[in-house]
Symmetry: C3
């Protein structure tokens, strides 16, 4: 399936709505009208696609009638769905991994009805209390996956294979999100994991914004993209300013629109297209007016797509 710059799926992530209503009701239990109002706000910003992440409404946990309501709400908003992202629900979570895996299967089952051709999995886990208290959660250390020779990783590979086999049956791809300190924490680890999974409907989500915002040394950004873009089938895209003060060692990073952060997305989107990328983009942004920045980023991505010489697009 080939998209034009105008039709390419570029979705809003619903993260900024949280997972409860202002009065504390889980969105999972909220009336469809609540979902609809939030979807309408997104559509009002010019979005044509939405990624219904489980950090908003966990569709794998809705009853069948409630899922039908959900499908109706999305349809009524006029938004299309190309992808469904899961987050902080590692399928090898020590306590809930099996349950998260089950929910993943339900999401894969339900993806086609929403029109989604791809489901995103990652190995980051619930925020630690220190992360939840921090100004930005990435300023504190979070969950760390064991080394790559650990049996936990073998289980992770197996469960992703199992999800991918299910995906293949219903025409759904799997994308694996890069995230610090997980099995997909660096390009090399991510590619190794992908190779161990070794299934044609599995690729990477090179969400390197997760890395460039960290207050620690990182690998060279263009080199990281050069490694992972050929394996990319989905893209959580976000950007950050990044500076380090040599005298004190203090880092400073902050979320900003794609055009102005440290990652040169004009270059890397063009490289991705040249490498054959045809997957959906999902605009994520933390803090600030996430939706407003996501809308700016959507237009930026379309502009960059328009700039790609025709023969390679």
């Amino acid at each position: 399936m080939v998209f034009t710059p105008e039709t390419w799926p570029i979705a809003a992530n619903m993260l900024s709505f949280g997972n409860t209503t202002p009065d504390g009701t889980p969105l999972l239990d909220a009336p469809a009208a609540t979902w609809r109002a939030q979807l309408d706000e997104v559509a009002g910003l010019g979005f044509t696609y939405v990624d219904p992440t489980d950090a908003w409404v966990s569709i794998g946990e809705l009853s069948a009638p409630r899922f039908a309501e959900f499908v109706d709400a999305v349809a009524a908003s006029g938004l299309a769905v190309a992808s469904i992202s899961t987050t902080r629900r590692s399928v090898v979570d020590a306590t809930d991994g099996e349950r998260f895996c089950e929910i993943g299967h339900t999401i894969i089952d339900r993806a086609p009805e929403l029109g989604a051709g791809i489901v995103n999995f990652g190995f980051m886990q619930a925020l630690t209390p220190a992360q939840a208290r921090a100004g930005w959660f990435w300023l504190e250390d979070g969950h760390v996956d064991p080394p790559d020779d650990s049996p936990v990783r073998d289980l992770a590979v197996e469960r992703i294979q199992e999800l991918a086999r299910h995906g293949a049956e219903v025409g759904v791809e799997i994308s694996l999100e890069m995230y610090e300190d997980t099995f997909l924490g660096t390009p090399d680890r991510a590619i190794r994991f992908l190779k161990d999974v070794d299934m044609p409907n599995v690729g990477l989500n090179p969400d390197l914004g997760n890395l460039v915002r960290l207050h620690r040394e990182i690998e060279d950004i263009p080199t990281m993209f050069a490694k992972v873009l050929p394996h990319t089938n989905f893209w959580h895209i976000k950007n950050y300013l990044r500076d380090i003060d040599p005298a004190t060692g203090a880092y400073a990073t902050a979320p900003v629109p794609l055009v102005m952060g440290i990652v040169n997305y004009r270059r890397h989107i063009r490289e991705a297209i040249a490498a054959g990328f045809t997957g959906p983009f999902v605009c994520e942004h933390y803090g600030s007016d996430s939706l407003g920045v996501a809308a700016i980023n959507r237009e930026y991505i379309r502009d960059v797509l328009r700039s790609v010489p025709r023969e390679t697009s």
Copy 2:
């Protein structure tokens, strides 16, 4: 009075012009043509409203004929005035408080002729020498008001009541600006002060940009807005990036356009409207091209206002 997103008063603050001409003449003594050229520059950026702050031309200190010239200059520029802000002129300033209070009365008297329905007062005082030397004045400690059980605060409450009574006579509201280390330095202190004033034509100016730029710990931003938005009748609006380096404790903050700073103004403007806010916005911005950023912010605010579902606007 109800505004549409297109007519809502969103003013430029004139702060960036300073209070002297390039050759050092106080703007107070400058010919009306100088004021006019600056107002024209603002109008040229698409502004329809201006806030003639006393940090630019202190209209409470103009002679009657000069004030008439001022009114003419504003009219000739095509700009409307919805509000007049005073700044760093605490009515309980140890030296000049009484005089500042007098000037405040003159401003209230003159507000209707300019079309202004609201006058803003705050308790920040003149910059200290260290603040004046600093890269950004907020990086150094400034004036600190005494605790809330101080007789100075009693006097502050009295003087604001006196100004508010005067305002009520001429149809002018009073807004009290939140500013660190003053009687309005936190949401709780601000609400307490407002309750002690206890007059229907007095409200808060939730200028939380003053707080989020500080290199110190701050309260949770959404919680602060939840407290003060129901009491808001005027809004100095500005945004900042904000980061902290955990290893060194170094903060980094910087003024940026509304859409991309740490405060989610899309959310908080919508909450304010839902809570009944109908007052003017004033776009402030320090450093950089303040006017250019203010113009960007004006369009941003209109966009957010347009996004508010009709039944609540």
Copy 3:
């Protein structure tokens, strides 16, 4: 020659393309089609002018037939050339100064054929290994010119005079780029250098972005511009956020679009025009999507030029 805001030369710098192709071939040896594709990308972003800096394709080192190909490639892209910038090729470089001076002469000879009326020289030298490794090269100390009473500076003045005499013969101006720790490292040093050169076709390039990004104390920005704008004949223009944490002494700076960095370019461009500036602007930007930001900056500069009252433009 007088420009309108629409026709004023505002060029893209080609720095972001580097000086090699992805496979490592020097762009100097690349086929003209490679140059053309990069020029087309720039033109596609709405640029009408390009500055063919020697950090991209060093036109002073092309053979005559290759230079003819280069001229054709530029013409075919539809881009005009108003200026040619050299960078990190000090004419008093201990090893290569004489050679760089020779190349400078060739550039001056070739400038008219490209339509360029100005060639930019500076005294910064090759990046040190530490600079090359740093997150941003300006975070590490680079080349330091000797004091102004050094014979090396006498030689520098002589060589610039020699280049300027050559320029005068072919109708080309020389601009001297301000850069930290060089003979043009501060406004005072820059003006002193210019006075010692003392030739009518030589002026300054007030590239103060080079200074404001540094993690060290800097002079007051408006004061610096007041000194150098009257001597300005060319302008590498870029902006940065800039903050310092008083408790730790940590600086944080980051490249951002012109409108939002610490330098108030609206003010300083208007001052430059009032002081008689009629030279080209070149939009530089490091890191991130340099070209995308440059395109945003180009439109910003045109907007500011449009805002200049007619009598002074």
